[in-house]
Symmetry: C2
Subunit: 200 residues, 2 copies
């Protein structure tokens, strides 16, 4: 609610910074989140249906290097580290990682591949579109990567999952956006989260 | 959308700072806003009904000195200045102004009175409650005054009128709130604005 998508001082133990996990409580309880993460159970119903559809839209995902392998931790300075995503990552589609370090594509279980892109966001987008087919390309984060795509005019849609949490500090999403203009196209309100969709 | 309730550099010509007027376009077109401001016409319908009820809830209003008489302008250093509210201000209820300068109560047309309170927010609230009767006491602004009330645990309800405008700078509302916790109680979405009501 106060604009931060992660709290202050992200670490390997608190990748979303101090208090940042509160932002995701609403989704962690849903089957739509638990299933791709290899966990049993979870709530079903309209909130879950909404997020199931949301997650299923992506045919490919783009993320930044820090989201892939963390800000610190034992692999911080290891350009070959896999990060925290494990052997069966929750994406289940090809993932393109923006990085300065060239490395070979990594094939994981469950349909996730990690491809490392060293020549910028346009290249990552072109590669992701190639494999996404009829589905969309999702920009996963972090904030800086999303901002780069918005500033370059390459983002079509932004969806904010608004929760009444005040983090008081951390990483803001909606800054460094150049001259971007947003148009609200849809609001879907559930007890624990309000989804607001914008077109750019 | 990026958290600012006024843009950068407020002046007498742009009291809401650079670009800040964009935040209010949705309400300026409504009859519910135009009528108390002494203007004819304006849109009616569900958006208007909602705001009419919103405005009519207040039995008294509290505001800061800067909201009353501006940040600059010819009256900047004049402790007796009336500010920009004219002879028939839009409040039509008693208004309590937090200030460091003692002065006599001012009686305007249309039911608005300006009472100057020099002994802090608790005193202003007690005086406002006394005259509000069955109606509520509205905290008008600016941000600093709202923050003081929230931090002191004196605010029961906060309603955000969210518009897809990025001001890129200015005055933020949701900071300096102490340990305040918010609970979302209602979302009402219209094409040009999304109202989100929180209880504290």
């Amino acid at each position: 609610l106060d604009g931060f998508i992660a709290g202050p001082k992200p670490t390997i133990k608190e990748p979303l910074g101090q208090g940042g996990e509160q932002l995701h409580e609403w989704v962690l309880k849903l089957e739509a989140w638990r299933k791709p993460h290899g966990r049993y159970g979870g709530e079903t119903g309209p909130e879950n249906d909404y997020m199931k559809e949301f997650f299923n839209r992506d045919g490919a995902v783009i993320m930044g290097r820090k989201m892939f392998s963390g800000n610190d931790g034992p692999w911080k300075d290891d350009p070959n580290a896999d990060g925290w995503w494990g052997e069966n990552p929750p994406f289940h589609v090809p993932v393109f990682i923006l990085t300065h370090n060239k490395r070979q594509k990594v094939i994981k279980q469950g349909g996730t591949t990690f491809t490392f892109v060293t020549d910028g966001i346009d290249s990552a987008l072109a590669q992701a579109k190639d494999v996404a087919g009829e589905k969309v390309v999702g920009i996963s984060g972090g904030a800086n990567v999303i901002q780069q795509f918005i500033k370059a005019g390459l983002l079509d849609e932004l969806e904010i999952h608004l929760v009444p949490v005040l983090l008081k500090g951390g990483t803001r999403l909606l800054e460094n956006l150049g001259d971007a203009k947003l148009k609200k196209v849809k609001v879907v309100d559930f007890p624990s989260v309000t989804h607001i969709k914008y077109h750019l």
